[in-house]
Every structure is written in C-alpha cells, then in structure tokens.
C-alpha cells in the first residue's frame, strides 16, 4: 500500500476549504452547502483516522505510514509519520472537529462559511502538527494554527474580542520566536531537521539547556503553564462556543505533545536539569488556578482556569520520566480534550438560551432542563476525576508516576484533586440546583435532539475510557516505553562519559 495516507488525512480538510471558497449563491444556499461540505469532509477525515488506527501496528516502536518529499533542497523536507502517541491525538482531533461543526449551528450567527473554513483550516494544521517528522514543518503547522484561532476570536468573539485576540496572539508569538531560533540553530549545528535522525542523535550537552529553553518558551505559553496562562481565560470567554471547544480540546494539546516529542526526546539532559522548574510551575498551576477557579463568577472563565490546573497535571506527568506518568499525561490530555470540550458545549447550551455566562444569573436549571443537568453532572464528575470516568485514569496514573519520583510534589498535586471537587461541585450547585431564581430560567427548554446526541456521545466516550482505558493505553504503551527507554539510554551513556 503506497498511498500517502497521512498526507491525504492532513490535507483533506484543506480540500474542503477550497470547496467552500467557491461556494456561491443565495445566503441560505451558502449556509446549507457549507455545512454539508464541512461536515462531510470532517467525517471523512475521521473515518480515515479510524482506518489508520485499525491498520496501525501497536507492537512496533518506530514511526509508521512515513511519507517523505523534498521541498527545499538540503533544508526542508516534507516528512510525516506517526507513532502511537501521535495517533491518539489525531483521533482526538478528527473526532472533535465534526462535533465543533455541529455545535456551530447554534453559536455562530454570521459569516458562517468563513467560520467553517477556519475550523477546517485548523484541523489541517493540527493534524500536521501531530504528524510532522521534520522540525521546520512542525514549526510551520504549529504556528500557523495561531492564525485561524486568532481570526475566530477576533471576528466571532464577544465584546472584548479584539483585546483577547491580541493578547492571545502576543503571548503565543512571543514564545514562537525563541523556538524558531532554537530550530535554526539545530539546523546549522547538525545539518538536519529530520526528527527521526535527531532523536537518535546525542545533542551536545552544552547546547541542550538553551535549546530546551527555546522550545519551552513556546510550549509553556501554549500549554499554558503558570505564569503564562492569563491569555487563556480571556480567549475562552470571548471565543464563540465552538471556538472554545477547539481551543480547549485540541490547541492546548499541541504543547503537551511537543514536550513529549521534542523536549524529552531531543534534550534529555536539559529535561532532567529543568524538571524542578517544571514541577514548581506545575504545582503552582494546580493549586493557584484551582483556587482562582473557585472564585470565578463567569462559567467559561471557571472552566478555563480548571483547564490550566488540568494541564498542570499533564506537565507534571511528562517530566517524571517514567511510563506511568507519561501514559497518564497522554491519557489526561485525551480525557481533558473530551471533557472540557463537553463542558464548553454545556455552557454553550445554556448561553444560547440565556445569553449570559454569569453564574449569578442561574439557579434551579434542573427544574426546566433535567436531561441537560444529568449530562452536565457527568462531565463535572469526569472533570473532577471520579473513578469510572476518563478523568480519573489520567490523574491517577500521573500521581502514581509522580509519587515514584517525589513525595512532596505528589502530595501537593493530590491536594488539587480535593480543590477540583470544590469548584466543580460548587459551580454545579449554583447553576443547576436550588429554586428557580428568575423568570428567564422558567422559560428554558431542555436539550434538542442535536445537542442531546452530541453530549450523550461525549458522555459515553468518557465513561468507556474510564472503564476500559486500555483502548488508549494499549495504543500508546509501546511508544511511551520506547521514549522512556531512549531517554534512559541517552542519559546513562552521558553519565558514564562524565565519570
């Protein structure tokens, strides 16, 4: 089979975009066709990724489905390929995008065609990030992803959209510059940007720390880690529902993926050197943002801050350098992708009806929307890591991994689990329970079929992953073990040199 299937996967959404560009006619016709076109392309992409998953051999550690093309001679190669880790993120991306498109119908009121084009463009770019095996290609996809997101916030956002969009852009651009410098340096020093070659290579210990910091600048902003996180709440609050969904579910995962693939893979010594820094920032993120989340009065902000705390767990798990922590981090990212997407959709559901995100405007919603309340509860529980939901497995494995490494950090991080229960349940109580507080609540109608379908699907996904997490763990285990193995090899060899 010589089909460049990964390239087809990556560029299929782009083909959808081209179709949309040439869609013309009456407004109604444009809206209808653009929905059809984008839905069909995204579902097709999803099917291809399922096909990939079926044909993926999860017993070998090397990259699969590799496809390579010369682009600029001796400088940039277009090279893509995946291992188990990439695969699960690809699945997450292709799964979330159709859901976003469906939810767009309610949350976006104008320039729908352009909005859908942005969504499909993001999908292409994200898939590119998770597939690319060339640092420069990776950088292009990684940074280009900013632009459509910037546009989504800036055009379809709320009142303060311009401020938020620029804050988002400023922050992320700031990080990128350093990563670009690091990449250029690697090319000049080692003459290649091919990731497979670089992973085997032992990068000089003297350079590692600087290069690591260059990558870190970009990843830390995008994760986001404390104290580079303040763009996230603003971006979420202003973005339309489907924008928030894609931001929380997929865009935040690029950095975690980057940490795993590049920071640990290319710069193992620097990773060990900087691990205390990561630990510190992560536990601050977990405790600090959980406490802030507790005091939020805006639902979206609350969920955004809780995302920062959850990503704190992810970075912790990555930098303990053992299989439990790494697998836990990946699982946590997938789970957070599903659960936070669902939570933003839930907020979107009530926002479409009430046009308010203020918690104070709500109360007693369960009386009018029992189905919604049930589903919302399950997502809250998944978010606070109740066993049986996907949220638990990730946090559990991460803490297990951290505990092997450092008691203090693990104890503090585990406190975050208590805090998450506080803000999660308190949010739920204030919005859902109690007596009906005002007449607008009285007029609420329960979920329509489309909303019910989407949310139920996500609930099932979260429960299935919670009860049978091996769907994901089996797919990634060989790859994570391989990463840990290479990591240990590299760091041990260096140590013997020093002795």
């Amino acid at each position: 089979m010589n089909l460049p299937i990964l390239s087809i996967l990556i560029f299929l959404p782009l083909i959808g975009v081209f179709f949309l560009v040439f869609t013309k006619g009456t407004e109604e016709f444009i809206i209808k066709t653009s929905f059809k076109v984008s839905l069909i392309t995204s579902v097709l992409t999803f099917l291809i990724s399922i096909f990939l998953w079926i044909n993926f051999d999860n017993s070998i550690s090397s990259f699969q489905f590799v496809h390579e093309k010369k682009w600029i001679k001796d400088f940039i190669n277009y090279k893509v390929g995946i291992d188990g880790i990439s695969l699960v993120f690809i699945l997450l991306t292709t799964l979330i995008v159709p859901i976003c498109i469906i939810s767009t119908i309610n949350s976006v009121k104008f320039r729908i065609k352009e909005f859908l084009m942005s969504l499909l463009l993001i999908e292409t770019l994200m898939l590119g990030v998770f597939c690319s095996l060339d640092l420069f290609i990776f950088f292009l996809f990684f940074e280009a992803g900013l632009i459509p997101m910037f546009i989504i916030i800036g055009i379809w956002g709320g009142e303060k959209r311009v401020y938020s969009a620029f804050k988002f852009f400023l922050y992320t651009l700031f990080g990128s510059v350093f990563m670009l410098i690091a990449i250029i340096f690697i090319f000049y020093e080692y003459g290649t940007l091919d990731v497979t070659k670089l992973l085997i290579l032992d990068i000089d210990k003297n350079y590692q720390n600087y290069l690591w910091l260059g990558f870190f600048a970009s990843f830390a902003v995008k994760t986001p880690m404390w104290p580079f996180h303040t763009w996230l709440p603003d971006a979420h609050v202003e973005a339309p529902t489907s924008g928030s969904v894609i931001l929380a579910a997929i865009l935040l995962k690029m950095a975690g993926y980057g940490f795993i693939r590049f920071s640990i893979g290319l710069f193992p010594h620097a990773s060990i050197y900087f691990a205390p820094l990561i630990f510190t920032l992560s536990i601050i993120a977990i405790i600090y943002t959980s406490l802030i989340a507790l005091m939020q009065q805006d639902m979206k902000k609350l969920i955004a801050y809780s995302s920062v705390a959850h990503m704190g767990f992810v970075t912790l798990g990555i930098f303990v350098f053992n299989g439990n922590g790494l697998a836990g981090s990946i699982f946590q990212m997938i789970s957070h992708g599903i659960v936070s997407a669902a939570l933003f959709l839930c907020v979107g559901v009530v926002y479409d009806r009430m046009h308010s995100r203020k918690i104070l405007d709500y109360g007693g919603v369960v009386n009018k929307m029992p189905r919604f309340s049930t589903l919302f509860l399950i997502f809250i529980l998944a978010s606070i890591g109740l066993p049986g939901t996907s949220g638990f497995i990730g946090e559990f494995l991460i803490l297990l991994g951290v505990f092997k490494n450092n008691y203090f950090v693990a104890l503090i991080a585990a406190l975050g689990v208590v805090l998450s229960a506080c803000y999660g349940l308190w949010l739920y109580k204030r919005v859902i329970f109690g007596k009906i507080v005002n007449s607008r609540i009285n007029e609420l109608v329960d979920l329509n079929k489309k909303e019910l379908l989407v949310l139920t699907f996500l609930v099932l996904l979260s429960l299935i992953l919670g009860v049978y997490p091996n769907i994901i763990l089996d797919t990634v285990s060989v790859s994570t073990n391989n990463i840990i193995y290479i990591f240990n090899e590299k760091t041990n060899i260096k140590m013997t040199f020093n002795d």
């Binding site: 922050y171 049986g388 585990a414 859902i432 329970f433 049978y468």
Partner: protein, 636 residues
C-alpha cells in the same frame, strides 16, 4: 451467579434512570426492588455456603481495567468470608430500604430517580467490598460517595440539602486523598495493587524505613496511617465527621441505608480487609484505638442535647463506628465486624422508625414538636423501643453481645491505650443509653407539642413501612444470639479462616463477673433515671441547662467544629482564591505581562509618531544624522 449479584443493581439503575418516565413509578419501584432481591438472595446463598458448606474464596475476572508498565489491574469479583458477610448486610438492608421507600416517597414527584440512585449506591458498595485490588476498592469508595452526594441532595430545591451534599462529598474527598496517598505508597514499594501480591509480600518490607517531608518512619506505618485517614473520612471519625450529621438533610431511607448501615462502615471494612498491613504497625493501631474511643465519646456527648431526631441518631452512628474502630485498634477485627453486623440491623431500624415518625407527622423532624405519639403510632413505638434496647446493649439483644464483646476485648488488650478505651467505652455506653431513652421519651411520651398538626389525624404508617421495620426488629432482637458463636465464638477462626489476619489468637476466657455485668447494669439503670429526668421532673434538666449554659451551648453546637473549620479553612481559602485572582493574575501577571508590554509599545510608538511630522526638513535632518553615523562606523 456472582455476575448477577454484582450487576443486577447496576442494571436496575441504568434502566430506571434512562427509562424511568416510560416505566412509570410503580414499575420502576418493582424493577429495582426485585433486582436487589435477587442480589440479596444470592448473597445469602454465598454466606450460607461459607458458614456451612466450607466454601473456598473465589475470584472472577470481569476484564482487564488498567495496564501501564508493571501495573496490571482488573475489574473482578472477589468473594471470601469477609466479603460475603458484607454482601449480606448491603443487599439485605438495601432491599428493605427499597421496599420501605415505596411508601415513604409516595408524595414525591421523582420516585424512579430515587430508586435508581439507591440501586446505584448498592452497586458501588458491592464493587467496593468485592474488589481484589485497591483501585477497584477506590472506585467503589468514590462511587458510594457519589451516590451519597446525589441522595443527600435529592431534594435539590432545598438549599441546605445541596450544601450538605457538597460538604459530604468534599470532606470525603479529604479522606480519599489520604486513601489515595496510601495506595500510591503501596504501589511504589510493592509494585502492585492486588491484595494478594501486597499481603503476601509484607514480610519482605516490614522493616523498611522511609522519609516523607522530613518525617522518618516505618513504611508500613505510613501506609496504614494514610489508609486510616481514608477510613476516618468515610466512617465519620472525629475531625472528619462533620459531614455525617448534615447528611441527614437527605430522605430518611437514605440515612438508614447509607449513613447508618452500609457506606459509613466502609472504613471499618477497609481496616479489616487490610488487617495484614495494620497488624504490622502497632503505632497506628494505637492511634486507631484512641481515635475510635474519642469519637465514641465525643459523638455521644453531642447526641445528648440535639433536638433533631435524625441528628441524634446520626451522632449515635458516629459513636458506634467509634466502638468498631476501638475493636479494630485492639486487633479484634472479627468483633468489629460482628458489631458492624448487629449495628446494621438496629441502626437501620432506628432510622427507619424515626422515618416512620417523620412520615406520620408530615415531615416534622424536631423532637420539641413531638411527644405523646405512642398512642397514635403504637407499632412504630414498639419497633423504636426494640431498636433502643438493642443499641443500649440491653441483655440478650443483639447490641448486648457485640458491644460487650468490644468492651471485654478492651479489658484483655495489651494495647497501651486500652485503659483509655475501657474508660471511654463504658462511659459512652451509659451516655448512649441516656440519649437513646431521651429520644424515645421526647418523641413518644409527654404531651403533644405541635400546634400545626391535629393530633387526632396522626396515623401509623402502612404495610410497606411496617414489613421492613418488622424484619429489622427481628434482626435487632436475634442477630446477636444467633451469629455470636459463628463470628466471635470459641471457634471463630473456623469461619474467618484467612480472610482476616490475626497476629495472635484471641483470648477466649471471660473477664471477671463484676466487669461483665457492669455495663449492662449501668445501662439498665439509666432507663428509670431517664424516665425520671426527661419525663417526670424536667425541672432539674432545665435548671442544669441554665446553670451550665456555656457547656450546653458547647454541646449543642457540636463542640464548634464547623465554626472552627469555617474560620480556619473555608474563609481563608476563598480569600486566597480572590487574592490570587485579583492581585496575582490581573494585577501582577497581566499588569507587567501583556498589558504592560502593550503600554510600553504604545508609548514608544507615540514617541515614534513624533518623528513623522510631515516636514521635509525633519526627515532630511534625520537622514543626515544617520548617514553621518553610518559613515563613521564604516570609516572606523
């Protein structure tokens, strides 16, 4: 068959929660109740097998749950002697509560939801006791917490109920935090979380020393300490008990099932299940004894002055759980389970009896608004008397055997703190008797105090309430005498076999006669005294209240635990949260970060704008200067 036992309640939950409206009230009630009936029949079958047919423990693998590196965990059904007795308690009490709820909730609008939650709870509890590894136990542990949260907050229009529900969940999470840390420690040093792997390898690490946060200690002490924190949270021991009295906001059947008979005993179960670990850590056993005895005493003092009928019983539950922990602390695990077993009957009886009272009085729970009810609700009265006699340890009722077994165990224990335990246990037994009789007298005797209700219209409850009460009364009367020989008799090891680890064979001779009859005598004596003080001559009590008002207030306000926690934790946490948000994020990070950056940029660009004045000579001047600078650099 074990699959049916475990999954019947889950099936009932799923069907009723999804299709409750479609099924209608009656059908959902029948469905859930009969599924739990099936489960309880099967658990009786297993229990019978373990007692008479010498069954061997068995372990059914359902499927693999988590695999990561050397961690391999399964969903499984592990049933041994200990589990089988827990299963009997859980399923049988759950069945009675299901039936009872059919009548108790007859005015409620969402009966299917209520029945579904009860079944969900039953399922989670079964998962908890039939786990073969710590993680499945944790799943059940948090699962019952969830069911408890849902049921306490069942009447979601009541703000107090919602608050109580959150409080229950979060205080339990604090306990779960401890349990989780214990589990992580076990994994780190044993490399596995399966009971078998852990318990078999204890000897290899029993002398292992570790250091956590600069505290040196024995590894097993650390592990058992953290596990015990989990147990304290779930079993509402002192410091982590505050959620249990508040949990009484939930419907009464819930209090009987979850907050008396089953869920709160999960902590005891955990300690007993991990007896191989605990037996190797004398220090922690001492702590357990002290905590248990203190809780027993503390809760009994508070119960003396409460006015809400359910809160009195709730504190009494706390107190009895304290007794059970005393027993485990002394290594008398079988006696702890025996008390757990008898307690399930008489405490469920008391709660459901109180529920029957409340039901008859249109949801009135304040004992100050009751009185003289025995004429109107004679059956409930009789059942409550039986329950009270049982809990106070009146001779030959169930509580007598189990509680006195604990007190006797304290007498013979080598434990350093046994003296403290003896003293508090005896005192608490007397206090228990006093507050229990106070409850009976205030509720059923004297004159009717409620002006909102017409005394003549009060009716006793119907058949669905009567039957469970009757069965529980039989249990409260006879469960002690029947099962004493099996659980704690001469040949107790014949039943328990290896399901509990006893480091020493238990002393079988009895303490001196005066000690044996001391407690029953004292508690029996309190009956006439209580009648005198609470019924015949109330002046003395009132006088005491006024004279010792600070003490009275101290007890009435439950030793000010809630106020203390609010002051120490809740309010500061909110303040810190706000501080981080307003000062940390908005002022510092945004102020010096992006906003500051934007300000500086704007300032510079404002300055730069001044250059672009539009006058030709300005541009010419600038060009000239830069040209000269450029030339200088090149020439040099």
């Amino acid at each position: 068959m074990s699959y049916i036992l475990v999954f019947a309640p889950l099936f009932g939950f799923v069907i009723t929660i999804l299709f409750g409206k479609l099924l209608g009230d009656r059908l959902s009630q029948i469905l859930t109740s009969s599924l739990v009936l099936i489960s309880s029949l099967i658990s009786f079958y297993f229990f019978y097998g373990f007692v008479f047919n010498n069954y061997q423990p068995f372990n059914h693998l359902i499927f693999n749950w988590v695999t990561s590196e050397e961690l391999v965990l399964n969903w499984s059904i592990y049933i041994d002697q200990l589990t089988s007795i827990m299963l009997v308690i859980i399923n049988f009490i759950s069945l009675l509560v299901h039936i009872y709820s059919i009548e108790y909730m007859n005015h409620d609008n969402s009966k299917p939801r209520f029945m579904a939650y009860l079944s969900l709870f039953t399922f989670a509890m079964i998962m908890l006791v039939s786990a073969d590894n710590f993680l499945q136990l944790f799943f059940g542990w948090e699962g019952v917490g969830l069911a408890s949260y849902l049921l306490i907050g069942f009447w979601y229009n009541k703000d107090s109920a919602n608050k109580a529900a959150i409080k229950a969940f979060i205080v339990n999470r604090v306990g779960d935090f401890g349990l989780a840390i214990g589990i992580f420690l076990i994994y780190k040093y044993f490399g596995s979380l399966n009971y078998n792997d852990v318990f078999e390898n204890i000897n290899s690490i029993s002398n292992y020393k570790i250091n956590i946060l600069n505290i040196n200690g024995n590894l097993l002490s650390f592990i058992t300490f953290f596990l015990f924190i989990g147990a304290m949270g779930k079993s509402a021991q002192i410091f982590l008990h505050t959620w249990l009295p508040d949990a009484m906001e939930g419907p009464t059947p819930v209090s009987a099932l979850i907050h008396a008979a089953t869920m709160v005993t999960a902590g005891i179960f955990l300690v007993v299940r991990c007896s191989p670990l605990f037996e190797n850590s004398a220090m922690i056993l001492n702590i357990i004894t002290i905590v248990g005895a203190s809780t027993a005493f503390y809760a009994a003092t508070v119960a003396l002055v409460q006015n809400d009928i359910k809160r009195v019983i709730a504190y009494s539950t706390c107190s009895q759980l304290g007794y059970m922990f005393v027993a485990t602390g002394l290594g008398a695990y079988h006696i702890a389970i025996f008390h757990l077993f008898t307690h399930a009957f008489f405490k469920a009886l008391l709660f459901l009896g109180a529920g029957s009272v409340i039901h008859s009085l249109s949801d009135e729970q304040d004992m100050r608004k009751m009185g003289g009810l025995w004429k109107k609700i004679p059956f409930t009265y009789i059942f409550m008397i039986i329950g009270t006699l049982a809990i106070t340890g009146f001779p030959f009722l169930s509580g007598y055997y189990s509680k006195d077994a604990i007190i006797e165990a304290t007498y013979y224990s080598q434990n350093k703190y046994a003296g403290y335990a003896i003293f508090t246990c005896v005192i608490t037994a007397i206090l228990t008797s006093v507050y229990s009789w106070r409850l009976i007298i205030k509720t059923f005797h004297g004159s009717f105090q409620n002006s909102n209700l017409n005394f003549n219209n009060i009716k006793d409850s119907g058949l669905f309430i009567f039957v469970p009460l009757f069965i529980l009364a039989l249990g409260a009367l006879f469960s002690g005498v029947i099962f004493r020989e099996i659980f704690v008799g001469q040949n107790y090891i014949d039943y328990w076999k290896n399901s509990i680890y006893f480091s020493k064979t238990y002393i079988l001779e009895h303490p001196p006669t005066w000690f044996i009859i001391l407690t029953p005598m004292l508690t029996t004596l309190t009956i006439p005294l209580s009648i005198y003080f609470f019924l015949k001559n109330k002046k003395i009590i009132n006088e005491l209240k006024i004279r010792h008002e600070p003490l009275y207030k101290f007890l009435l306000n439950k030793w000010y635990f809630d106020e203390f926690y609010n002051f120490l934790l809740v309010n500061p946490i909110k303040k810190i949260g706000n501080f981080f948000w307003q000062i940390g994020d908005v002022f510092l990070i945004d102020g010096f970060g992006p906003n500051g950056f934007a300000k500086i940029t704007r300032y510079i660009s404002d300055q730069a704008v001044k250059f672009q004045s539009g006058y030709l000579y300005h541009y010419a001047f600038v060009m000239l200067i830069f040209l000269s600078i450029f030339l200088t650099i090149i020439l040099i």
